[in-house]
Structures are given as C-alpha cells and as structure tokens.
C-alpha cells in the first residue's frame, strides 16, 4: 500500500562514491543564503530540485531538508512547488496510493473507532479552508548566536498556504471522545531507517484538537497536497509550529495520559517561562521545559533585494511580510537608521489572522550613504519582535529583526 523508503541501499552507493570522487559537486552552487549561518553551510548548501519541486536550498539530502529561497516570500501565498520540505527520519514514502489510504481514529480515550478514506474525508464532513503559515520550529536555527546543533535553517523553513479539508473536531465528534481524553496522538507513515530509532509521533492537547481552525487537510492552494508536504492528508494546526502538522497522517489516538514518546518528551521543547507565549501545552510541561506551541510574532523584508542600488532623492520601496501565532498582525514599523527612529508601515490585504500579512513602506534618502533598514512587527496580543535573541538550546523562536543594508549613491 505505502511505498516506504528504506534508504540503506541508497546510502551504500552514495558512500562508495563519497570517498573522494568529485568532491566539488557537493559544494554550494548558487544557493541564496543569508548571513550569520555556520561557516560550513556556505560550502555545503546548494540549490537542488526534489521531484515535483523547484530548486530549493538543500541543507540535507537524506532525510530531505530543503528551505524556500526568500524571493518566494514576495508572494503572500507560497507556491506548492517552492514550499519547504522537512523530514526528521529517512524512512519516507516515495509514493502514496491516495485511493487506498486509510486514516484510523480511535485510542483508549475514544468511544469508538473510525477508518476514513480520502473520499470519505472529502465528502463526509463540511469542507473548510484556512490560510495559515506553516513554519518549522527550527526556522532560523542557523542564526542562533552561539550556534546550536541541528538542521541549520536560515529564513525559509516556512510558507503560507490556503489549506482545505475537514475540521478535526467534526471527525472526532463522529468517533466520540471520553471525558478522560487529554491529548490526541498523531502518526504519519514517515519513520526511521532502523527500528530502534523513535518513530516521529506527536501529540496535541484536546483543546487545540477541538479548535475550529485545526483541520485534516487534503488540499493546499487549490491542489492536492504535494507528496513532500504530506500527501494525501496532513494535520493543519494554525498558529502552532509545523512540528504538530503531521504529514501522511495515518492515525489519531485519543489518550488519557500524556504521550511520552521521544519527540514530545525530549525534542521540540523550550525553557519554561522564557518566551512570551500564551498557548501552553500543560499536560506536557515540566518546571524546566515545555513543548514549543505557537509561533512568535515575526517579519521579514522581501524588497529591496540585497545589493540593489538606489539614488539620493528617490524613494526606496521596502516590502515584506509579517506573521504570528494567530492573534493577528496589528502593526509593522520600519526604521531606516538602524533602529533609532521607527515609523509605521502600511499593512496590506488581510487574509486571516493565521496568514502572512504583507506590508510596505517607503522612505526617501536625502543623501548618499549606507542605510540600515529594519522591520519589526507587533500583534493584537500586544507582543512585538524581540530586540535581542532569547537564546535556547534548540535555537527556536528567533524573531530578532534582521538588518538590510541599502546603498544609496
């Protein structure tokens, strides 16, 4: 039914070739990398196209971890074929049979059990759409100072799409939850290369599962989910980081005790109380650390391009996007003097509180020189991007404004 990739074979052939033959092929080839990443990334990352994808910034081949070049964020919705790809473990499906797919919903804290085909997901429940940012928890890890181990993501482990599917709460209502249900455990078909490696399994609190915006999606930007973004169905947890957005979803189990798998207990955790986040996953929290939940408010400048030349007396058009954990962007400010004076940018079309929000700003430099442009976003919960890095061992939640140097002659 599901072609699961066991890449040991592939690894062998690669290794045989990796012992000195043409090593220059592995060198970075035109990948548009931001500054501040580990030095080893600049001669390793490369533009490379996965099946069905445009060339993206390859950080690792196996499992595939590819980020979206920043140029794609000029559009509010990220094209499916440019959407970032992230897997933890190399046992990933190289094909899926959407017709034969079954999602099982049950567990000890469910009243019943249900098996859903793709067709039943599409026809048996009201279909809803939500525009939402999917951002890897580790986006910008590569910019941590000091650097921390992990996939060294730059700015592009994120994307925004219109997701379509059935509400998880509607599916759960059909199965029935017992009063003792506290978490929903999620699994997809991707898994480890060797049996001893913990399968990638996550859980979410019942209250988040019952949120009307949490959906089991089969469609992304009007097309079926791409294979590498979770076909034929994945969970969409708007506002929360992508670690909970389980791809290739095959089971959802209601449980009465906190799920204690590796990917909940030991990974994707932040120091308790260190970040200004509102949503907490209390059944998984300890005094020392707590699961990452919602995204922190953030923004990126998408124009002008670095290196673009400008003339004194002519307007510099600054554009970008902002997003947060689903409270909605209330304000974006821009500075053209390195952060001394801030002025309001104009907010563009609102596609919903979980979406990228475009913004624009213009300033006219009176004289030649180098101008340091910064943007900072605030949300309706009263949060603003951090002025300095809140360091944490996994490099999460980096929302420090990134300076762009604008040269004016």
């Amino acid at each position: 039914m599901i072609g699961r990739r066991r890449l040991l074979q592939g690894a062998g052939s690669t290794l045989a070739m990796g012992t000195g033959l043409l090593p220059q092929l592995a060198a970075a080839q035109g990948a548009p990398l931001t500054s501040g990443l580990p030095s080893g990334e600049y001669d390793t990352a490369a533009l490379d196209a996965l099946p069905g994808k445009k060339p993206l910034i390859k950080l690792s081949y196996r499992p595939p971890n590819y980020e979206t070049p920043v140029g794609y964020f000029k559009e509010v919705f990220t094209p499916n074929d440019a959407f970032f790809v992230r897997y933890h473990l190399a046992g990933i499906p190289d094909q899926i049979d959407a017709q034969a797919w079954k999602l099982r919903i049950g567990g000890e804290a469910a009243s019943g059990i249900l098996e859903l085909t793709l067709a039943e997901l599409q026809s048996g429940f009201p279909q809803v759409e939500v525009a939402a940012v999917c951002q890897c928890s580790g986006n910008r890890r590569g910019l941590s100072d000091p650097h921390v181990p992990g996939v060294q993501w730059g700015l592009g482990a994120m994307g925004n799409a219109i997701w379509k599917g059935a509400r998880l709460k509607d599916v759960l209502a059909k199965v029935g939850l017992k009063p003792e249900a506290i978490e929903l455990v999620l699994n997809g078909t991707d898994g480890p290369v060797i049996d001893k490696t913990p399968d990638f399994i996550k859980s979410i609190p019942v209250w988040k599962a019952l949120d009307e915006n949490t959906i089991i999606a089969h469609s992304m930007n009007g097309a079926p989910l791409p294979l590498l973004n979770g076909a034929p169905m994945r969970l969409i947890v708007p506002g929360w980081t992508a670690t909970y957005w389980m791809k290739h979803l095959v089971s959802i189990d209601a449980v009465a005790k906190p799920f204690d798998g590796f990917w909940m207990k030991s990974a994707y955790r932040i120091p308790t109380g260190k970040f200004p986040v509102i949503d907490r996953f209390l059944t998984q929290e300890t005094p020392a650390n707590t699961p990452i939940t919602e995204m922190v408010v953030n923004s990126i400048i998408t124009a002008p391009a670095p290196g673009q030349r400008h003339k004194a007396g002519q307007a510099v058009k600054v554009r970008g996007i902002a997003w947060d954990g689903g409270y909605g962007i209330s304000r974006v400010e821009v500075s053209s003097d390195g952060g001394k004076l801030w002025r309001d940018a104009a907010l563009g079309k609102d596609s919903g509180r979980f979406s990228f929000r475009p913004w624009s700003f213009r300033f006219t430099p009176a004289k030649a020189g180098r101008y340091t442009v910064l943007a900072r976003a605030s949300n309706r919960a009263g949060q603003t991007q951090a002025e300095t890095l809140i360091f944490n061992p996994a490099g999460y939640h980096n929302n420090v404004p990134r300076p762009l140097t604008v040269a004016v002659s």
Binding site: S13, M17, G18, L50, Y61
Partner: protein, 93 residues
C-alpha cells in the same frame, strides 16, 4: 554535464533514491571510514558539514551519544571513539 552523468549513475546504482543524492565529501583524515559507514547509514553526510564549525569535542560527543542512545544507532564502542575524534578534529572548534 558532469553533474548530469553523476546523477544518472547514482540513479542506476540506487533505484530507490529519492532525490539525486550527490556525494558529500568529508575531509580525508583518520576515522572518516567509520563516520561514513555508521553515520551515513541513516542520514546524508551534509548534516556534518553544515553543523560546522562551532561544536566543541564535548558537543560532538553529546551528538554521537544521542545517536547511539535515544536514536538507537548500532555503533560499536571503538567506532564511536573514532567518530568523535574525527568530528572534533575535522569539524569541531
């Protein structure tokens, strides 16, 4: 052209290859075989290069122990020492 030829060869060698996984060269030094043979069984070796250069011997040791412990990598103790030594000397700070 060369890139193309290599890709074709890799695809022939490994019909299951997901992408065109190109060889990721590591520095030629003692212990490289142990790194390629053990680490490369579960993940491509670009993980090592992109995670440099900033990790001390202590941090590399913790990474290798994480692979052996929670991730269950079947790495023999003598290989583990070779791997840590290689990573600390060639990709450590």
């Amino acid at each position: 052209m060369i890139k193309f030829a290599i890709a074709a060869l890799l695809l022939t060698a490994s019909a299951a290859a997901y992408a065109e996984e190109k060889p990721v060269a590591l520095k030629d030094a003692p212990g490289r075989d142990a790194v390629e043979g053990n680490c490369g069984a579960c993940h491509s070796l670009d993980y090592i290069r992109t995670n440099s250069v900033f990790m001390s011997r202590q941090v590399w040791t913790a990474e290798v122990n994480k692979m052996i412990g929670p991730f269950g990598a079947p790495i023999a103790p003598e290989d583990a020492n070779k791997i840590i030594d290689y990573l600390a000397k060639n990709y450590g700070k």
